[in-house]
């Protein structure tokens, strides 16, 4: 009976793995075909030399950094405060942070276009800078479920109350407590939330495209519609970026404190 089990397990695993590896290998092979009759890295070279690649990629990296900053500023104090003083609000905050998983991104951005147009009270979309800001805000909303979860898990491993009281006795104000006591303690959790946000933002298409921002996602789509071999090279580059972010999260989680105090 055990032997039969193992046979099925290997079979399922083998078929599944083939399905997941084959597209990666095929994409790689395809990306090398640009030069007729022989394999070359020409597609990669033409991607990296394309000024639009550099410009859109840089734009998306900057947007990702601002998204992470906004996410941290928003989530860390809130999660901390909920844990310290307002535990009864926890279900409401958790519900709100899960909403972006329920409401599709395309619906959220549609709402923005309607609500923040040029002749509204908050005319984000009247200027390019405003639209950039709205894109950062939209991405912070998309990343909210992951960011909040990561930070909340991080806070669970430290004794928020004792740390706060100790800091207060020593005369620290709220800003000092959050920036110099809480943030360093949950830094690894914050970083893993940050890398996940980065992976989400860097290739995102829908929001950037509908807000008309020169981001990497719309550039990818445009390249896919107009060239043959470059898209494969870009797909592999994107996969490598996602992979890099996830590996960093894995590595960081090994350094995370092992709920040294109370698991609370």
């Amino acid at each position: 009976m055990k032997q039969g089990n193992r046979f099925w397990a290997w079979l399922v695993f083998g078929v599944g793995t083939t399905y997941f590896i084959l597209p990666l290998l095929a994409t790689f092979e395809f990306s090398l075909r640009k030069r007729r009759g022989e394999y070359s890295f020409d597609a990669y070279r033409s991607v990296f030399e394309d000024p639009n690649f550099q410009a859109t990629f840089t734009y998306s990296v900057v947007v990702a950094i601002f998204t992470i900053l906004l996410g941290v500023l928003l989530v860390v104090p809130t999660a901390y405060w909920i844990r310290l003083r307002l535990p009864h609000l926890r279900p409401i905050v958790e519900f709100i942070t899960l909403l972006p998983l329920v409401i599709p991104a395309i619906v959220i951005v549609f709402g923005y276009i309607r609500m923040f147009g040029s002749n509204s009270t908050l005319p984000f979309l009247a200027t390019a800078r405003g639209a950039d800001a709205l894109l950062v805000i939209g991405y912070a909303v998309l990343a909210l479920p992951y960011m909040y979860r990561a930070v909340d898990t991080g806070l669970r491993t430290i004794d928020v109350r004792t740390l706060t009281e100790a800091a207060q006795i020593l005369g620290a104000g709220w800003t000092t407590i959050i920036v110099r006591i809480i943030l360093p303690n949950v830094l690894i959790a914050v970083l893993s939330g940050a890398f996940l946000s980065f992976a989400i933002v860097i290739g995102e298409f829908t929001m950037a495209s509908l807000l008309n921002r020169p981001a990497f996602g719309p550039y990818l789509q445009n390249i896919g519609a107009n060239t043959a071999y470059e898209p494969s090279a870009l797909a592999l580059i994107s996969f490598a970026i996602t992979w890099g972010c996830m590996s960093l999260i894995q590595i960081l989680s090994r350094f995370a404190p092992r709920s040294a105090n109370r698991p609370n």
């Binding site: 399922v12 695993f13 084959l22 092979e29 928003l74 991104a105 951005v109 896919g224 870009l234 894995q250």
Partner: protein, 297 residues
Amino acid sequence: MSQTASVRPGAPEISRLRLPLHWLGVAPFFIFALLFLILPTIGLIAGAFKNAAGDYTLDNIIALSQPKLAAAYWVSIQISFVSAVLGALIGLAMAVAVIRGGLPPWLRSATLTFSGVASNFAGVPLAFSFIATLGRLGVATILLRDIFGINIYSLGFSIFSFWGLILTYLYFQIPLMIVIITPAVDGLKKEWGEAAATLGATNWQYWRMVVIPVLWPSFLGTTVLLFANAFGAVATAYALTGPSLNIVPIQLFAQIRGDVLYNPNLGYALAFGMIVITGLANLFYILFQRRAERWLK
């Protein structure tokens, strides 16, 4: 919690300031959520029930039943449903194989790591990968033709078709299932298998009477989550087939881009329909999850 009391005696002024301070701490979050998540959504929902002049009406909702839009909803539901059910079944089979199948332990962590990556690998690059693999000149298409003499395109397959889209969606659905269902499969206690064996149950009886009933709520819950996941996906489908495919997210995308329905309020109704469907899916997820948690202590 007894530590709360120790703050109070030393700090009487703080306690007077407590009420506003309490709320100030979370105010930025609530203002942000209200302004950039809740109000825009409510605005759309309200717009779905208004006409161009701003009067309340059900016309937009009724207009969703026009053939093109009804078909879009139907195709979207079919694609989401099939990719969710297949993704859930295959994902569960792989999770069980890796965790319970007696495979080397390192395969488990490798599979989970890869699943974490692949479940985030939706969107435009994923579409490129599948075109390179199963497109007309894709590597797998050509290998099948040259080695096995099977021309899948002359057999009616196309990566831009219903099944092509499902095959592509499975690339993020299966890993998502593996990531979410693994804790539930881990929760199957070894003792239950031993107890079943002691009572003389066959392997099949153990599966039918213990494993399946225990995993059932988690399985259903995750399946509806996968459904919602596929239903909201725009980028993959758009990059694969362009604006031509008649599914709801792409119709909505085209509507926002260029008012193709000549009635902005119909766009709001389209978005409202999406919220209703993904909202229902998530409601079921929460209900199933609550049942599932009974076993996962």
